[in-house]
Amino acid sequence: MAVAIQVESSPQSTGVHTTRPVAPVETTSRGRLRFSVPRWALHLVSLAACVTLWELASRHGWTFLLVRFENVPAPSLVAGAGWGFIHSPKALSHVGNSLLRIFAGFSLAAVLAVTLGLIIGRFRLVSDLLLSPFELLRPIPAVAWIPLAILMFATGEQSMVFITFIGAFFPILLATIHGVEGIDRKLVDAALSLGAGPFSVFREAILPGALPSIMTGLSIGMGTSWFSLITAEMVSGQFGIGYYTWEAYTLQNYPDIVLGMVVIGVLGMGSSALLRWAGRKLTPWYRPGGALP
């Protein structure tokens, strides 16, 4: 009985979890569905349904439980605002400023955290000396640094880059340390017995061995640095997409609020995709959870 259930349910569960598109000619593995539809079409249909529902809810001022759509701008209004935004000179300076801050803060964090993480992960002494202050600072969210950052730095620009830096630093540091500690001791032994010196061991074994974990840390750090930056811009910014979104609220340009959110989402998604692409290029031997194609 148990075996029969196993046999029946296993193709179904693989059908649910697979991420590859099902070819249109095949019948889907869910049995009951006889005709076949490309999966992207299904995705598109569900997306369109959501947007339509939102449009209707906003137009008619519906309320779902506690959520009032009365003041929520409709998608059509947001699209109109987006069209205007693209053609205004402000767009470039808002987006450009945010990207520049992310670039500066994130790059600084990446270089520092990876370097420190490699050393802390490799040498017990450095780990004992440095890790405890870092452990104390780590639980403090980057956003909580904003007031002090404004006091610590001469310009608002510097303090915002600092907040971005803090947001990215700890996830990258921890992932790097984790990556170094996870390296098979035998690989280091092999490198040594093949004639590698201390520096070569670092370059040829430690760094590439930790790279998959470092890439994971970079993508988490990218997410947290965007989060931190947007908050910092809302509090103390002039220009920047976070500032734009908050300004839209204070000026009661409601469609611009949603537009700001969408732009933030697109920027975050784009930078994550960029990192994933870089990760695939840098670690061609590594595929999470499986062998190479």
Partner: protein, 282 residues
Amino acid sequence: MSRDGFSPVTGAISLRDVGVHFGTGRHAVQAVQGASFDIAPGEFVSVLGPSGCGKSTLLGVLAGFTKPSSGEALVDGLPVERPGAERAVVFQQPTLFPWKRVLANVAFGPKMRGVGREERKRIAADILREVGLADFHHHFPVQLSGGMQQRVSLARVLVNRPRVLLMDEPFGALDAQTRLQMQELLLELWAEHRITVLFVTHDIDEALFLGDRVLVFSQRPGRIMADFRIELPRPRTPALLTSDHFVYLKRRCLGLLRPEATSTIDGTSQPVFAGDIEQSSP
């Protein structure tokens, strides 16, 4: 294939009363105790013993990974102090760098010696042809089978022209068919490269099939119970595995490795079956 002609002059191994213990106080573990033996240049010596008897630790001492707690290990008269390419190590699990393609893995040693890019590619390709992997230069290790990965591991150490090859159950994870192929390949390479091989295994057949000589280890703390020559003709072929002499030697080893046999040994006793076994002459 035969070992005639001149004998190699480097690759002599000498252990003088080597002991290794890990940890301190109540948690101290004696892994190896009073190990002394000499291996002549070019000799193929199998080290046979039960799992966890400290034979791998001994290999680690010679490789330079582990410092002996007492005694000393010498290779060509010089004490072993750190890992080095002249003492090659092949582990049970292939330790190829997953991020390097096959050719780059093999070219690693020459790269560390400062050999130029084109030159090291050429010598790596030569040795890959020798182990039968001429067509796999651009594969990543995960794309190869276990046997092929161990071929690359062999190529990667042999490219450094080592004097001593230290092998820690290198074929233990392979299926029987592949293992036999690898054993024959190893014997071919050994005849070709004229290096000293110290081959750790818990497989009696393997120890006898490969070695000029077998060192039998007791259970932990590892001590040498027996040291005998294997007078089987070379080149060795799988047909030998069923010969009378082979079976005779195998029965002797089985007797030595029986738990009750090893447990009777106290600190001072001689090998239990010493009388039955022809002692190796230095």
